[in-house]
């Protein structure tokens, strides 16, 4: 059985190395074939995996690596080929990692209580999906969304105030920059005392964590305007409001979106740490992770991490799309094809 798999993959790899560059579709086909064969190898394993198990696993993984490099070197001609060369390599990486993870865990017979296999995580995800949905609602809607909804506007408004006041620029800006280095999560327990141990205190953590990057970036964007453009507007005798609307604010938008990207990532991490540090009612992904880790239910831990990563990547993606819509004129985005 294993021998057949090894042979198939080896033949495919060799034919790839010979014809690969010209036969892009053939290369692309090897990726799903390798993935399927890898899954088959792992599924067919015996109680004590033998030499053939390891050999076929490594062959399959090697096949994936070869096909990805071949794809990267290929010269796409048609739109379909272009699409394949852009999507397939990045899609292969998680398949490769998951196969490796599952193959190693199964191969070494690691018990579920020490390190779960991919299968365990998927089972946990499917069996307690309602729980995860409920946790995600608490973590992302009640805590992250509310915190961002408060933190970002206040950050932008304070940024505008600071940009227009020399006193605040000199006095507050160095402090705000220093705050960037303060581990704000340390504030979590204090906020827990102030706002109670339920979701409110975690939303407060998000507010603080998003406030400072947004503020700093807004100030930078408002200040660092092209002096020539500013002079032009002055020459037209524009009112400060017009200067703000037509020059300063559009100039600050890319900075604000950059801050939003940072804030979206940092707020998810901070909220999970805050849930670690403020044990409250057992709701929310962070609490789920820390409670399950304490009970040794690592499959649930990984499933919760997966869910939170998925949602946080989605948020990041939404911000990127918004950025493209609102600041599509910016050079950094124009250059990308």
């Amino acid at each position: 059985m294993s021998l057949t798999i090894i042979l198939i993959v080896l033949i495919a790899i060799i034919s790839l190395l010979i014809f690969g560059r010209r036969r892009l579709l053939l290369t692309s086909l090897l990726v799903p074939v390798c993935v399927l064969l890898g899954m088959f190898t792992i599924a067919q394993h015996e109680a004590i995996p033998n030499f053939w198990y390891w050999l076929s696993l490594w062959t399959v993984l090697g096949g994936l690596v070869v096909s990805v490099t071949q794809l990267g070197l290929a010269q796409p001609d048609t739109r379909v080929q272009l699409f394949l060369t852009r999507i397939l390599p990045s899609a292969t990486v998680p398949c490769f990692l998951l196969l490796l993870w599952q193959g190693l865990v199964i191969g070494f017979g690691v018990p579920k209580g020490i390190f779960p296999s991919v299968g365990d995580v998927v089972t946990a995800l499917r069996s307690s999906l309602p729980v995860f949905l409920n946790d995600s609602y608490v973590t992302f809607v009640q805590e992250v969304a509310l915190g961002i909804a408060i933190g970002v506007p206040t950050g932008i408004l304070s940024g505008i105030a600071i940009a227009y006041s020399r006193f605040l620029q000199r006095g507050f800006l160095p402090l705000a920059a220093a705050f960037g280095a303060v581990p704000i999560v340390g504030l979590a327990p204090v906020l827990g005392r102030a706002f109670g141990v339920d979701w409110q205190s975690k939303a407060a953590v998000v507010v603080i964590v998003t406030f400072f990057p947004v503020l700093l970036n807004t100030v930078q964007g408002l200040i660092l305007v092209d002096a020539l453009k500013l002079e032009l507007l002055h020459a037209y005798a524009s009112s400060p409001l017009t200067i703000f609307r037509k020059l300063r604010f559009p100039n600050a938008l890319p900075y604000i979106f950059n801050a939003l990207k940072i804030a979206s990532v940092v707020s998810v991490i901070s909220v999970i740490v805050a849930e670690f540090l403020i044990p409250g009612p057992p709701r929310g992904l962070g609490q789920r992770i820390s409670l399950s880790a304490r009970q040794g239910a690592y499959d649930v831990v990984f499933a919760a991490i997966f869910v939170s990563s998925l949602i946080s990547i989605t948020i990041y993606g939404v911000i990127v799309v918004l950025e493209r819509t609102f600041t599509g004129w910016h050079p950094s985005l124009r250059n990308e094809s």
């Binding site: 990805v68 490099t69 794809l71 990267g72 070197l73 852009r86 390599p89 990045s90 292969t92 990486v93 998680p94 020490i114 390190f115 020399r166 006193f167 605040l168 620029q169 000199r170 006095g171 507050f172 160095p174 402090l175 220093a178 705050f179 280095a181 303060v182 581990p183 704000i184 999560v185 340390g186 504030l187 327990p189 204090v190 906020l191 005392r193 102030a194 979206s264 990532v265 998810v268 991490i269 999970i272 740490v273 670690f276 540090l277 962070g286 992770i289 820390s290 880790a293 304490r294 040794g296 690592y298 831990v301 990984f302 919760a304 991490i305 939170s308 990563s309 946080s312 990547i313 990041y316």
Partner: protein
Amino acid sequence: MQKVRAQWPLLATLMILFGLGYPLALLFGLPLARRDMQDLRKWTRASFSAASPDTLADEPVQGLSFGATPERGILIFDGAPVEVDYNIEGNEVRLEQPLSPSDIARDTINLIALGDGIYSIPDNLNQDISLQPTIYIDGSLVHPGSVETNEVPDGQRTTFTFDHPDTSTIGRLVVDDQVVDDYDIITVSEAQTEVMLAEPPAFGSSLQAIQDDYMWLNETQLVFNTSPAETASVQAIPSVMRLAEQLQGEVDGSNQVFNLARGNVLEQASTRRLFVGSRQLDGDDERPDERVDGETSAFTFASDTGLISLDGVLLTALTDFTRDGNVITLLTTPARNARLRQHPDYLLTNPSTGQITLAQPPTEPVWTNEYSYYAEPSCGNTVLTCFFALPQHPVPFPHWIIRRAPGFVQKFPVSDERNVLRAVLYTSTGTLVSLALGGLLGTLLAVVFVLVRPLEQAVLPWVIASQTVPIIALVPVLLLVLGNLGITIQTSLLPTALIGAYITFFPVTVGTVKGLRSVDPLALDLMTSYAASPVDVFLKLRFPAAVPFFFTSLKLGAAAALVGALVAETESNNARGLGFQILGQVQSGNVADVWLLLLTSGLLGIILVNLVGLIERLVAPWLGARS
């Protein structure tokens, strides 16, 4: 001078932030203080009990005086209101006709002096003295009272403190049922006295101090604070006339609702004794024979009269239920596990106003000789006093934090691992190791990406995505895996370093890739025309171009790595770092210490970022002009 002037906005802002701490402290503290004030469990308890006459006379009297009088007094003798007419003026009761001594006190017992202020009830007495009787010395009332020590005797401790009202002090000490006279009073403050005993009380014994005139040692013996004169007659009187409290409410044969003089009455029935005429009311309730399972609506009780309550709310007959003997049929089925009770005599319908509903309309006065109530918030009567009495302020007043600073630094000697400076050193070591690791990994990855473009296309999106993974969530798993690999996570720097490296490598990779690519194309062309090897291109062109990008990213990573280190420390129970200290102080409630630790770690973050800047200037001095 010029320098100082340039800094003044910063100083002014610092002062403003310092000042802002005060309203913030109030903003967060006052709601907690208010909650404390409204929480009845945090109120001091007091109890009303019927008073005995201050003095007993040998001949018939027309006036009796009592130490304290209730708002609506009623004279009680032998468990029933007296049949004589009287009026109450202040603490004095004027009787319309004189009463003989036997109408005021009955069954007098003469106590036997055992010496040293200890008196005993005679052994041969065949009276029920289970209710501790009132004590008179030469016909004057004396009051019992004792206070337990605040500490637990452990067989070694010899110094103990006692709380008492600031108007009095403590009297003699009693260990279990033995009087102890061999002690020194060390300090006496307003409401506390500290004493040192010659012999430590045994483990588990009870140490009390007499606070009033006397206390009972056991069921038959009592000890006086100051021994009465040898000639004095010390009498115990089980049955004496008392001034009890009459409940407010019309006794007209139809009214069932009565009110105690005090509100916020304790709900437990055992803390009060109510009477109608000479009959004591039963405060206990009956449970139904059937389970309240959410389906049954007919319930059987032991007796066939009484009030019915559901979850403490009184139900009215006919509109809520119908009665057939001892079977009650509720018109709406009660929810599963609802508390359905029958109260044969009465129900405390409103504890906060002291309202009581009787099962039968009384025809005789309703009175009580004992009940407990919540007197006042133990933190004080205003929100502000409660605010200052808060055990943990969420945001302390800024000057409290400053005042705490010297004690905070000196709390542990430098030789102790828990010393703050050592914790700072430990955490910064962990952060620096993780920075080095992350910087190295990030640079390596960047070089690979620049060399092998296909790999970058495949992997870079996932490197970006990996940053949205809350890696800190993996700390518990990582610790377990490391523990299984035989690394003692309590002392190892490894968890901190790994987490920090994971957090640092991303900005370094992205920044360095950008830097390695930021080479001037002309310079690259020149190198190509000189047929320079790829190694030379890297060494002479790409690396120098990437240095500023690398350090900017490393600065970003430094702050993030510190957060990672702190969290890793809290999770790994690593008793050496700042993170563990923060968690420990939070758990023990030293909020000022938590703020100091936060300030310390903030300062550490700034220092680490500046340290990276310093290294940058050392490594790449040609960039000095840039900043």
